[in-house]
């Protein structure tokens, strides 16, 4: 997954797009090292020491990992569990929408 995420961050750099993670690793030190080693540049909420049973994923009723939600620029949920191969297109459409709205008077 990391290479795809890295390519998304690169592709939409300078555009109204952000990748935000919710990380489920129990050990915060370990994940800090992973973030460093694998040059993960996006920010992640930490789901806490209970890992996949942590408070954020419980609240969001996450049943499988990884799970991806796509929110538009207004914070509205537009896609859930997007298939990896459809992710780029879906983001591109939403980013285009955000840019059009911004330009509109």
């Amino acid at each position: 997954m990391y290479p795809h995420e890295r390519s998304l961050v690169k592709r939409f750099a300078g555009q109204p797009f952000a990748l935000v993670g919710v990380n489920s690793d129990k050990d915060r030190n370990k994940i800090r090292q992973v973030v460093k080693d694998k040059s993960i540049t996006w920010r992640s909420f930490w789901n806490g020491s209970k890992g996949m049973r942590g408070p954020i994923s419980l609240h969001w009723n996450i049943k499988g990992w990884p799970t991806v939600y796509l929110l538009d620029a207004k914070g509205v949920i537009r896609h859930k569990n997007v298939a990896t191969e459809r992710l780029d297109d879906a983001i591109e459409r939403l980013v285009g929408e955000a840019q059009r709205t911004k330009r509109a008077p």
């Binding site: 797009f17 935000v20 990380n23 489920s24 929110l71 509205v76 949920i77 939403l94």
Partner: protein, 258 residues
């Protein structure tokens, strides 16, 4: 998809084998319970012995060996034995565990799940042993492509007819779960919300937390709804918010370094 079905085997097997192990006996056990334990212990031994090399083959990426091993899965040879035992105790509570076993294990084109299911519904819908039936029905829909409409109808029937609150709430939960996991219409969503509220009003045991989470998903995490706020620490301990990103498209990814 391959991995998902492998997990499914693990999940269903662990859960269905959760009953305590029976003692080894030489002659056939006299009671249905004893027979079930003996069959299950025997199955578990055979299954584990088969599964280890199969998993190893998959782990080293040897698809050819794994596929060859799949044909030797011992489940198929146990299905007729459990079915025969179910027939032997037909019409009594003793048949229920055998029927559930055959229903749970008749999959991947092996065996016929429709017969044990029909019997469970027709003859045992009030049984106190149906606790796992709702989850089995739900997973059959999402993992095996079983008839969704029929599954929804059966769950509703179990919820209405079974007098044991933990089974009725299981049926309400798993009925709603099917609706959340598969494309459904507005009417179904409304019904799911009502069912989950009903389940929460009855519930006991493990279900309330799951019902509440699913209810939250129906009421706050649907496409077109404003995403709930997240305010939490990042991996370095700095608090930030999801709404910090308003004005940007956000890909919110639940991930881990597994």
């Amino acid at each position: 998809m391959k991995r998902a079905s492998c997990l499914a085997i693990g999940l269903l097997t662990c859960a269905s084998l959760a009953a305590p192990q029976g003692e080894e006996t030489e002659q056939a056990p006299a009671t249905a319970k004893g027979l079930y334990k003996a069959y299950e212990a025997e199955f578990r031994l055979a299954y584990d012995a088969w599964r280890r090399p199969w998993l190893a083959a998959r782990r080293r990426g040897d698809t050819k060996a794994a596929t060859a091993l799949e044909k030797q899965d011992p489940t198929g040879s146990f299905l007729p034995r459990f079915a025969a035992a179910a027939a032997r105790y037909a019409g009594t509570e003793d048949a229920v565990p055998f029927l559930l076993w055959t229903l749970t294990h008749a999959r991947y084109g092996r065996g016929d799940p429709s017969k044990p299911l029909a019997t469970l519904i027709a003859a045992h819908i009030k049984s106190k042993q149906l606790e796992r039936l709702p989850i089995v029905l739900a997973l059959r829909v999402t993992r095996e492509g079983a008839d969704r409409t029929k599954a929804l109808e059966l769950q509703a029937r179990i919820a209405a007819k079974n007098p044991h609150p933990e089974i009725a709430t299981n049926a309400l939960y798993w009925r709603s779960w099917i609706i959340s996991e598969t494309p459904g219409n507005a009417g179904e969503h409304k019904r799911a919300v009502a069912d989950l509220k009903k389940a929460l009003a009855i519930a006991g045991g493990q279900m309330p937390a799951r019902c509440r989470s699913l209810l939250f998903e129906f009421e706050h995490l649907q496409i077109g709804m404003t995403a709930p706020e997240i305010e939490a620490e990042d991996i370095d301990g700095q608090v930030f918010r999801l709404t910090d990103y308003r004005g940007k498209v956000v890909m919110l990814s639940f991930w881990g370094d597994w």
